[in-house]
Symmetry: D2
Subunit: 397 residues, 4 copies
């Protein structure tokens, strides 16, 4: 028991295998498709290859066919997978499925696990998480939730308007968050429901055209209109939805960071290769001070991101809430990764804005991460509030 | 004669008319097309409307049907036009045509003006400027020019490989830069040629897929293969091409800044409207300190950009080279405008990354400006070199 | 009438003379004293030399012995004077005297002008401006003013606690701001009083030890204890103090920027000289890209600062309130100048933190400017509020 | 064996004791002296108290009276000690003594350890490290070393000019770096010598007046003039000086970071206390968004700094060179800590620039850390070079 940063041998080995798999199998496919998988064929091909390579579903427990990695193990493996935009899809660790598996393992009943988790864990089906609403509903402020579920004979009736529901097109089911009690902004009173996609009360309105395009299944606007679900569609306990959301969101924030950190490393590698090969003004690009500065700052941002992810994951694995450390890590990583991609593109110049390398694709994919899962401003507000509360507590003592 | 920042009445009036035209006519079209004009119909409709509104070709001399604005006048009018991505196309002041008109007015013969400038000034045809080459050719370092023109009986034969030739698809002619003497990296020895698009020696290889998409006619890869042109295709004097490039580039840098400053203002207006209307955490978004900070920083960046453009344009209008002030303005504006769009998008949250507002489109369009017309790093290098040379001169005195 | 950035010949000539005076007379004295004038001898010597050089009191009207410069003229001359920490003291344009002269010219009665302005304008006496109070009094929020003046037979009785009263030690009089009506935080109800330093009710408590040390006469804590003043000590109208404060503060913000911009230029010149002469890693320091980047960024920050000052001064000279443009300029300049000094020091390395050059002195002097005259945060808040108000007005229209 | 961030119980307990000691004993003394210890009385009092508290010399091996902490243990304890400017002096872990003890333990002979290390470890004497030279000598580029040691009968004769020799005034001896072979810039050829302070050939020229003032014994300019030392004054092997310098510098960089991270935390605590207590514009300062942003950014910078220190220390404890990770950590920490102190001062406003809190003192102490132990630019250069070299190696494979 002392500070130690080595991964376990199992994790180290899985990282190595994942790295090779991404390099040899995933990236060629990704580059052929410009970083955006648009068909089931691609998904199927990727996932079959991942199973063959023994790297599929690393985060799922052994019982459901995975490797049972804790958060620290995921940190290493997800980063390796995230080195390609197609890596997470291949390993079945892309958002939102990965977070939903985590949530279902934590709170679903055994029957629900069999019906919803098992096929999700194998990649047989996909899922979505229906929480976010357009203004003035639940966005960065979850308390503004306006979707409502009312009890009725033998079940519930859900009405509400959701958007930015990632992966909804083609998902077999949604986990839908709806208010079940309380009328004010208080956190009490939300419940999570499992809604099958063929439920006539759930309607996909449109694909939202977004800057990012790589999340499989898109971002959709979804309507719940008198959507009837039975009692056993309740996930966990009634009125505990906000608490469960935290169970999902803390780790989900981190897994986003891990995956995007992979893209940051990839961007840096592309830029470094360019800086090593390209001549300008009579010397190798990489010998120019301003280029070196960008390369060094990338290296620093990547290392600092990894350090913060490690801290948060370690806390999560100890069963701590890690609210502060996940907020700190998410805020820093979202901005640092963005900077890394931006600098890498800048190093590559015109080539960087062309489709001949994937950097401008990465830039588009990474930008929304400063908004998704809570805008940086919301996280900074919550971080500061916790610091001030800590101060107040210490003073009162 | 004393510091004065008021525009002349003529310019003030033209700005007002342009502002109204953009608001009433241009923006509705732009929003319908998502900011990207893909067909001649759109261009024709826009330019006809601009002529009707009396705002067409403000930078061209009266002789060729324009308003004859100097650089200071352009600064005000182009910013007003740039408030929409479609504004410059409508007024016929988009890149690269606007810079080509400027160049042709300055150095073309009368016959060349009749044949090339007049139809360009009326919008009858479009043009392109073929200077940039893929690595290791002329990119941020123009001295690396590899395209060569060799003298032959009655004319010249051009061979070379260009890319990022904006507007080449559909252009009636290209102004092509080729080395005509000297074999080293020295600046001496380039010449500009007028090459008609139907010349069999000029071949459009492909549209380069780029992060930005709004420049009409795209960015193309172009090959000159034994491209024969007659003697009167020479623009200006033989071997003076690098000097002419500066004639074009100094002002062109500034007109880019002016147009994109319009987009910065537009972005800020979209964000402010959102901040004024949207409620979050119990108050108007615009009452939250971190949002106020972004709004204020936008305001500061816009004002500082305008100040630097004014300085450079005033120097250019005085006939000074303005190499330092245009480099300073270009570097600052490219980064400041980018920050403004980025912050505005951030203020709008998920809406900002969606296609429901044009901010993510603007982000894509504005990013390459930190690379096009010289990456910020190249400009910083040239700025510092001039400062050091100034120091050396003063010390020697 | 068109955009013009040339100074008038008078101003140009005065700038030239000031530049030579600072270089030849002021800087040698400044360096000998490490940038901090601590005795009347130094002040007297400097001001006598400035009078001899014909550059004294450029901002004061001819009637009181000055050059009668408007704000645009001051911008150029004050920057030249500010090139040395001792320049403003020499020209009698240092804070707070310069702002007080401006205020007295604008609102004092003829008798008050003879008694208070004339000896101040000649440098015979110094003055101070007693507004700021320790928390929870008037700091960045002037409405929190707690000093009170109560009417009594033949005059007023002032009670209050002030701090950061610059120049109070040795000042012949103070202009004291006190609440004269209203009990809430409303702006109505403050009055300015002229209080002679020998008034027994005004007591200098202590010199506040501050990071900056170059403002002559220090920053003091001052108590007004039953301080009796006659009716004719009222400056301007009763209850109009907050409005007058704006008369003083808008221009005073700009003159601070002008003076500190001089120090930014000086810092850059010191760093450039070092970069030109010093060898490291086998080349001139100034040939290293990261050093070039700092030099270029300095150049950009200086140019942008100057542009914003010009804009604000032009508005002020037109009689406009210029509240937004002065806030924008002050916020940007305070941070840009700070960056310039910080980078310059960095370029000089260990030498930069030593007393062998004045950069670390400049760093100490310039840092508080991000707080004095309103912290950047307060200005950003006011800038954003004006933007939002403008939006609300336009929408309502 | 898996990622673990808990300290050992011994370290945890020592951190707790150090924290209490700093809070109860050290800070009162520090505040009384304004953060600068100028006399032996203060040093003696502090060190006696640290011995009484059982927290003295935590980094020294048990054999020499210390706690024998590895780098990871030091990270935790030094940060706790660094919470006060006087903490490191009290625990005898201040620069340069701390680094010298580390070096002597690693490479001195037993006799040298008895004579030089033992009295240093107990605080009986102090020492200095004479490497840095004024331009054009060894500064950020150690290869430029100009001090020379020539072999002579029974020993060596040293000649050279050093500056920024921290702690030289009052030191019992210096470890002096001199060139002993090779004439070019090659790294081969330097040797370390133990020079007693009473050696007539070693002369303290002057105290350099610096922005920072808290390092006990000052920064001095030192001349070695025909300074004769015997053969057993050689520390380690002849011509191995540059390699030993790395033995010292890697860990020394980290211990600087640890100590200054303590000051960053202290600054944040001062600012948070202020933000919690102070009212402005009708609310608690800490409820204003821009203040929350600064508090949150401080929290992020502190956490990221700690993560990078942990990474580097773990590598060092594994016996790895850690050249990249210490460079990354040093560069980030120096800038992040600076930002934290700067923001904390900004939050406190006028109070922050006054001597009434120690923030402006901290600002002065922390600024040079971006230059000392290698300017950030030098580290960025070395970081980028290693990245490029890694790329070249991988490509060749």
């Amino acid at each position: 028991m002392a500070v130690d940063l080595s991964p376990t041998p199992d994790v180290a080995e899985l990282v190595e295998r994942t790295t090779a798999f991404v390099r040899d199998v995933v990236i060629p496919l990704e580059e052929r498709h410009g970083g955006v998988a648009r068909t089931e064929d691609v998904r199927t091909e990727l996932q079959r290859a991942a199973k063959d390579a023994g790297v599929f579903a690393p985060h799922v427990s052994h019982e459901y066919g995975g490797h049972g990695l804790d958060m620290r193990g995921r940190a290493a493996v997800f980063e390796a997978a995230g080195y390609s935009l197609f890596g997470p899809l291949a390993l079945n660790i892309a958002a939102p499925d990965e977070g939903n598996m985590h949530l279902l393992e934590a709170i679903a009943t055994d029957q629900q696990k069999e019906r919803y988790l098992r096929p999700l864990a194998t990649g047989e089906v996909r899922s979505c998480f229906a929480m976010t609403e357009p203004a003035p509903g639940a966005g960065s402020d979850p308390n503004a939730l306006t979707t409502v579920a009312e009890r009725e004979e033998g079940g519930w009736r859900i009405n509400g308007h959701k958007w930015f529901i990632t992966g909804a097109d083609g998902a077999a089911y949604a986990i839908c968050m709806a208010r079940t009690s309380g009328t004010d902004a208080g956190k009490a009173g939300a419940t999570m429901f499992l809604v099958d996609a063929d439920n006539p009360g759930m309607r996909l309105v449109r694909h939202i055209d977004t800057l990012d395009e790589s999340l499989y299944g898109g971002h959709l606007e979804v309507l719940f209109e008198d959507c009837r679900v039975p009692d056993d569609a309740v996930l966990g306990e009634v009125d505990e939805g906000f608490r469960y959301a935290q169970v999902r969101l803390g780790p989900a924030r981190m897994t986003h960071c891990m995956r995007w950190l992979g893209i940051a490393r990839r961007s840096q590698d592309i830029a470094v290769a360019r800086a090593a090969d390209r001549e300008a003004f009579g010397s190798r690009l990489g010998e120019l001070g301003m280029v070196q500065q960008m390369i060094a700052d990338n290296e620093i941002d990547i290392a600092a991101s990894r350090g913060l992810i490690t801290q948060a994951c370690w806390e999560l694995d100890q069963g701590r809430s890690a609210a502060q450390s996940t907020a700190v890590a998410k805020t820093f990583c979202a901005e640092a990764i963005w900077r890394v991609v931006d600098r890498s593109l800048q190093i590559c110049g015109s080539l960087g804005v062309s489709g001949d390398v994937l950097l401008s694709r990465f830039l588009r994919e990474v930008r929304p991460f400063r908004i998704y899962d809570g805008p940086s401003e919301t996280h900074r507000w919550s971080i500061a509030r916790r610091v001030l509360r800590r101060h107040d507590t210490e003073v009162r003592r």
